[in-house]
Amino acid sequence: METQHKHRSYEQLLLRLLSFVLVFGVWELAGRKPISVAFPTFTATLAAFVRLILDGTMLKAFGTTLVPLVIGISLVGIIGVLFGILMGLYRTFEWFTLPVFVIIQSAPMAALIPLITFLYGIGLGAKVLAVVLMAAPVIVLNSYKGIRNANPTLIQMGTSFLADERQRIFKIIIPDASGMIFAGLRLGVSSGFIGVILAELLITPTGIGDLITYYRALALYPEMFASIVAIVAFAAIVVGSLQRLEGVLFPRERKTAG
C-alpha cells in the first residue's frame, strides 16, 4: 500500500517534469527556427536569467516590485476582510457598500490604472493603489459571501445554547467563514500581482516592469524574456504555496462535515 502510494507519486513527479521538458523543448525549437527575431531560445533566456541573478539586477528588481505588493495586500488583507465581514453581518452596511464592490469587480480595472497617475502621481502610493484596486473586490466579496453563507444550523445551535451576539460572531460565524476568507486572500494576491505589474508598465517603470521595458528598448530579448518568465514563475509559486497552505489550514472535510 505504502510502496504503491510512493510509486504513484514518483510517477506523478516524472509526468510533471516531462511536461516541463516538453514545453521548454518546443520553446527551444521555436527559438532556433526562429519564428521571430524577438523570440529568444529557452537556453538563451536561461543564460540571461542566470546573468541577471548573478549581477544582482533581478533581486533588486524583485525587491522594488514587492514593496507596493506587500503594502497593498496587507492593507486590503486587513481593511478589506473587515469590510467584507461587516457587510456580511449587517444589512445596512451591505446596502451601503455592496454595489460599489460588485461594480469594481465586474469593471476592467486595468483601464483605470492610467487614471491613477492623474490623482496620485507616479510614486509608491500610486502603485499601492493599483494593487488595492485589483485585489480589494475579490477579498471583500469573498469575506462577505463567507459570512453571509455561514451554516444556519450552526448559528441556530449557538442560539439554543445561549450564545450572545459576540460569541455567535467570533465562535461560530467567523470560524465557519474563514476558509472562504482565506481563499479570497489567495485570489487577491494573484490579482495584486497583476496590479503591480500593470502599474510598473503603465505608471512608472520600476522593478520587474522596468526590466521588461528597458530590455525591450535595447532589443535584449533574452533578458526581457527572463524577466517576464521570472515574475510569472514567482507569482505562480506564491499563489501555489498559498493554495497548499489553504489545503492544510482548511481541509475540504472540515468545511462540509457537520
Binding site: Q156, M157, T159, F161, L162, K171, P175, G258
Partner: protein, 258 residues
C-alpha cells in the same frame, strides 16, 4: 389509551400555539399539549406536519404566531438554560474536536476550560465515545456524530431535552443501537424529553407518550400512552403490546395520508 391526560404534573405546557410562516403557510394550528415531567413524549406525524416547528417553538428558536409555551408556569421567550436541543443534522463545529464540541455549550456559558473539559469527558464516556475526544466530526460516523450532539446537550445539565429527529440521518442498525443507548442513558439522567420522529416503530419503542399530529395545518389528534413496562430488552419488539401499539398508531395516521 388516554386522551390528553397525564398523571404526573406537566413541566412544559403548550397552550393554543399556532404558527403561520411568512408567505401564508399555516404549519400548526391551536395546539394544546402537556408534557409530563421525567417522561419521554414523542411528537409523531407525517413529514411536513409541523412537528419540528412545534419543537423549535418550545425551544424558543422560532417565534410562534399565537398562543404560549409555559415551562414550570413561566412563559417562554427564546431559549433558556433549562432546555437543551439535539439537532437532526448534528450541528457540530467541523473545526472543533469532539471534546470542544461536547463542551461548547459550557464554553458559551464561560465555564473555565478545565472544568468544562472534565464535565465533557464524563458525558463523552457516558455516550460511549471514550477515546475519541481528539477526533474531528468528519472522522466519525453519523451515529457517532449524533452521540456527540447528545453529549453536548447533556453537559449543560438542562432538565428538558428537545430532540429533533435525532436518529433520522443514520442507518437502521445504528438507529436501533442509539435508541437502546438513549433509553439506558435516560434511566441514569432522568430528563424530560420531547422527541420528534416520523417513525411509528421508533415512537412506540422509545416513548412514554406519543402525541399524534395530523396533516397541515396540524393539531394534536390524540395523545397515547405507549409505556411498555411489562416487557424488557430483546422481547419488546416481539411483545403483543408493542405490536398492537404500532398497529393502532398506523391505523390512526393512515386516514390522513393521501
Amino acid at each position: 389509551m388516554t386522551a390528553n391526560v397525564v398523571e404526573t404534573s406537566p413541566v412544559v405546557e403548550v397552550k393554543g400555539i399556532s404558527k403561520t410562516y411568512p408567505g401564508g403557510v399555516e404549519a400548526i394550528k391551536n395546539i394544546d399539549l402537556q408534557i409530563p415531567k421525567g417522561k419521554l413524549t414523542t411528537l409523531l406525524g407525517p413529514s411536513g406536519c409541523g412537528k419540528t416547528t412545534l419543537l423549535k417553538i418550545i425551544a424558543g428558536l422560532l417565534p410562534q404566531s399565537g398562543g404560549e409555551v409555559l415551562i414550570g408556569n413561566t412563559p417562554v421567550h427564546g431559549p433558556g438554560p433549562e432546555r437543551a436541543f439535539v439537532f437532526q443534522d448534528f450541528a457540530l463545529l467541523p473545526w472543533a474536536s469532539v471534546l470542544r464540541n461536547v463542551s461548547f455549550g459550557l464554553e458559551l456559558r464561560k465555564v473555565p476550560k478545565e472544568e468544562r473539559h472534565e464535565v465533557a469527558r464524563k458525558y463523552i464516556k457516558e455516550v460511549g465515545l471514550e477515546g475519541f475526544e481528539d477526533a474531528y466530526p468528519h472522522e466519525l460516523s453519523g451515529g457517532m456524530r449524533q452521540r456527540v450532539g447528545l453529549a453536548r446537550a447533556l453537559t449543560v445539565d438542562s432538565d428538558i431535552l428537545l430532540m429533533d429527529e435525532p436518529f433520522a440521518s443514520v442507518d437502521e442498525q445504528t438507529r436501533r443501537k442509539l435508541q437502546d443507548d438513549l433509553l439506558q442513558l435516560l434511566e441514569v439522567e432522568k430528563k424530560t424529553v420531547i422527541f420528534v420522529t416520523h417513525s411509528i416503530e421508533e415512537a412506540v419503542y422509545v416513548s412514554d407518550h406519543v402525541a399524534l399530529l395530523g396533516p397541515r395545518p396540524s393539531t394534536i389528534m390524540r395523545v397515547i400512552d405507549t409505556r411498555l413496562e411489562n416487557v424488557q430488552g430483546e422481547d419488546i419488539r416481539r411483545s403483543k403490546r408493542y405490536l398492537d401499539l404500532v398497529e393502532d398508531l398506523w391505523q390512526i395516521l393512515k386516514q390522513y395520508l393521501v
